[in-house]
Symmetry: D3
Subunit: 235 residues, 6 copies
């Protein structure tokens, strides 16, 4: 099985880190094809970056035909709906993957993400996925995406502070780390805080494996009806 | 006052029609600057078209600086959130404009749009705007966007059939026409069915005029925080 | 165009202040007809005052026939539904006007009103308008309505304190001032707190202008069906 | 124990019918004091009638001091919130009473009321009471309130038709009759349709008895804080 | 009238206390039959205890045929739905009873229960009853159920602390005590905090009396259809 | 990896069928341990059967210690919350598994289950899982659970009729088969109706595999805190 793990931003070091996390999570027979768009924003922080990454992101999907499923590895599930109109193989966003998985091990979860500017996009998604009532709060740690790539930043401490608040104030029973770049902090934070901590990349990889095994395909009725051929010509 | 009325698709005849509707709705002192992206889909029908139009749409906004407000003239409010991060002048989508206005003259409204594939995007928007409980149903007439441009189609009859059902089955007290291309059918359908029928283009134009007069600006806190300068370089 | 701006309480000085705010917001060709009931409560603070003002308020509407739209200038949108059964010209409450406008410039707004006793009525309205999910919190400043009329009160400071909390705790991106008597504090508070602050009176005036221009009329189907003639005789 | 059963309209024959129903439901030691306002609409059908009945309705409560609880015997729960600010004895509307009771014997109930114009007011109430999700649909029989007073009308058949639809289409497990004037049809319709049918008058009377026995009083905190003395002077 | 008041746990001293509270609340003609299962958990604290008590609880109902209604005297409304399939006499849980009653005397109530582990079960119930929007917060006092039976514990002080927070932070207008074992603290806490405090046992007893008087029976349509005879054989 | 697939009813032929479906879905290295309680109802149809199966079901979990995860193979997710308090290995219900998976391939799904009496339990679950807004309707085919075991019944045709209605009337984009006994109809119905059809058993098996691989464990905070040792003694 081949999974395309698609980092919507253009920062290759982050693509590497995500690919490594995906490979750790994947089953033995699964090949991870990691990619990022050739052009677009270097980090996705808020609505504008998300919009500007879409054309490059969809191009990667169109040009990577021999895969069995696609993971969209940004926490706002960038371009998820559009990608599902392009192909009927499973397409899973790391945000939705983590929310659904967290719903299976807790009564309520909270999300700790990067900047305040990214929070409303995650809240919109939770509303439309229907899982808003399962979420205590979407919290920002004020750690920027690319700061997570810098050794020596105190990112972990700042994220941990929000986890502690989520447990005390939101009565969160599980924590979702709301950025693909936080993936390597997962285990340490779980141990420190005594709470399940979910990383969206690994959640999405294993969900895709499950869906491929079950031969589940995106519906072709309604909102994900296939894009007409004449609209698929390169922009 | 200058308003940019931005048709997110590249069909110039539709831009013309929208511009004419906008001018009919505008106050005497308001200048309508109509535009569409240079590249992108010829019609916006569903999630993929929406995604593929964004880069062109945002470019038009960046390159049209001397306006007082922006109307996004596609019913799925294409790129609305991203545009609000680009500038703090009012940006109003024709979908949200019509929903808010319909909420002021009815207890419940229904939407009649083009194709079934476009319905979920409108439903997502209604959820996140909070107005889902005000909407009876989003109905599709199965009239394609560009069919609305063809003289002699029976578009009006097919849309009328859904209006009749909305009144009888959804107990809709007002009807929102869910496509910028339906703007010139508004008055006839209202007269035929004895119900207020709202056209998003004119609703958005007058809302923008109101907001400019009130000096209302998009918030710079949270989700609409301004895009950092280095991210505004051309893609 | 003539707009009836109707203060539901009987305090003439407040009617004056509201009229002045309405005139500042109105377009050149718009005439503001300000009025208040001859009898009823001197301030509307909670459910009982609201109920006791209705008969006088509806009498003013019945006896002021030559207007193009009506603004109900109390934040609980006193008698809004009843007024819409009396006439099909637009009737807009300053509460709903501010909530809809705030929804166009922010992901989430909070309301700062007068007394705790007034809060549940506003919360009821937000629920039924559907905009509850857009509102962070309805906060009371414990400044009474008529205290706002007194020079030298520290009303502005107390309201400002709640604005600061709304930004920090509710993550509000915009603030709605929840009382017609707060209209002249709007600009100062916006400047002090660096956040859009909305005044319902000016929002409602410009919305009415927009609706009149669009020839939008209240639906006659369902809940706003016209009152039968024999029920319009004076009580 | 003395209960004031207050018909908000001025039709004495309907007050009689309601009083008889209340007496049938009441416990031996309970005295029913039936009343209606001296002035106001002869029937409450929609928002305008509701507003015009309030001043008379509240006057009756103010002038009937020696009672232990108040039943508001109109299905839109006319003036309920205002009445609770006037006194801390229990005040129960027949609409809410029937909805709460129906929630104790069914997973979902539907309401069958009089005219379409009355439906949105009931829907607003269900939203704010929180019981909207328990209600399948609010249906109108198009039987006017005063038609229920006429012998020989086919009201029962028309109401029965909506009950049958509610069971089949809404999957209602119980039916709430949405008008005080339908009280004497309850038993017959229940027998005919094999479904529990609830009459709000008897539900409210027994709820008031329960609350008086429990010494439950309306909260004085927040929205039902007592009206200040100077506002209680006659209008 | 005979009411079965059924304590789902096996602690006889608690059954006694509940029976005494039920007798204080009951009308003169009402006989209270108190019972608890012969086997099962000694206290119900969370989902597992609830599940393990069901078989014994339903056996008591099956073997106590000559009663007119059943009160389930545990705050998570243990086995409520199952019991309603066994018999069509009214079955009322003390949780739902208190929530419905609190909705009649306040705009918003908060719940103060025992342990954090019990909170999600109550939250689930509030969601499905529809009354979630009426509840400010479900708070835990960290007083265990059986600790309430011990003289000299400072249970009352710890519960009182949460009541104070509910009034200040949740803006609760009424308090529901979320455990049958708290029934004898009701009056004192109400007096201390100046807020209505509801005890579910007495609420449920009087609701059952009301329903019996009204001859209301659980619906036999849909989810509460009677259990087929062959499934009623002893397990 | 060993998965306990637990059929909550006592019908061994159904346990066999479920085990076969689980084995088809499982990865090569996964061992399926199928079981059913020794006592309890022969089919789970509604609230009473669910309650009566819990004690036996939890006993099986307590007495099957060497497994890595548990699938509860009844569509009402019988005893799910209680089981999560017993152990921190993943416990997944086939209902929730199918709903979450359907949310990843469609904008809206409908459920087709057995009898009308089973519908409200599924609706309650959808509400509390948060996925109610993703579900078009829960439909009953009026095929009883054990009828599915009989060769020659026209179960498939009756279920198919509801699928057709779900696509046309609910605008469902995917179908969830709401009974473990329908598992072998999945592929045929999907092919016949051109829509993804989800079987909860295979969804739950692959979700458990994913969770075991990710070392996700049920949270020990809040509602799923471990049952105290003294409460685990046999009933």
């Amino acid at each position: 099985m081949r999974l395309l793990v698609l980092n919507p931003n253009t920062t290759a070091s982050m693509t590497e880190k995500i690919a490594a996390a995906a490979r750790r999570a994947a089953s033995p027979g699964t090949e991870i094809v990691a990619a990022n768009p050739a052009r677009g924003p270097a980090s996705i922080e808020g609505f504008y970056d998300e919009a500007m990454s879409l054309s490059g992101l969809l191009q990667v999907i169109r040009e990577t035909p021999d895969v069995d499923a696609v993971v969209i590895a940004c926490f706002d599930d960038t371009g998820l709906d559009a990608a599902r109109c392009l192909t009927d193989i499973p397409v899973v966003g790391i945000g939705e993957a983590a929310y659904h998985m967290a719903s299976l091990i807790s009564n309520r979860f909270s999300v700790v993400t990067t900047l305040a500017r990214s929070v409303p996009a995650l809240e919109h998604n939770l509303h439309r996925y229907g899982l808003w009532s399962r979420c205590g709060r979407v919290r920002s740690s004020e750690v920027a995406v690319l700061e997570l790539e810098e050794p020596g930043s105190n990112a972990s401490a700042r994220i941990g502070r929000e986890i502690a608040r989520a447990i005390a104030d939101d009565r969160a029973e599980a924590i979702v780390l709301g950025c693909a770049g936080m993936t390597d902090l997962t285990e340490r934070l779980a141990a420190e805080h005594g709470v399940p901590v979910l990383d969206g990349v690994s959640c999405a990889v294993t969900l895709c494996e499950a869906m491929v095994r079950l031969k589940l395909r995106t519906s072709r009725l309604g909102g994900y009806a296939p894009v007409p051929q004449h609209k698929l010509a390169p922009a």
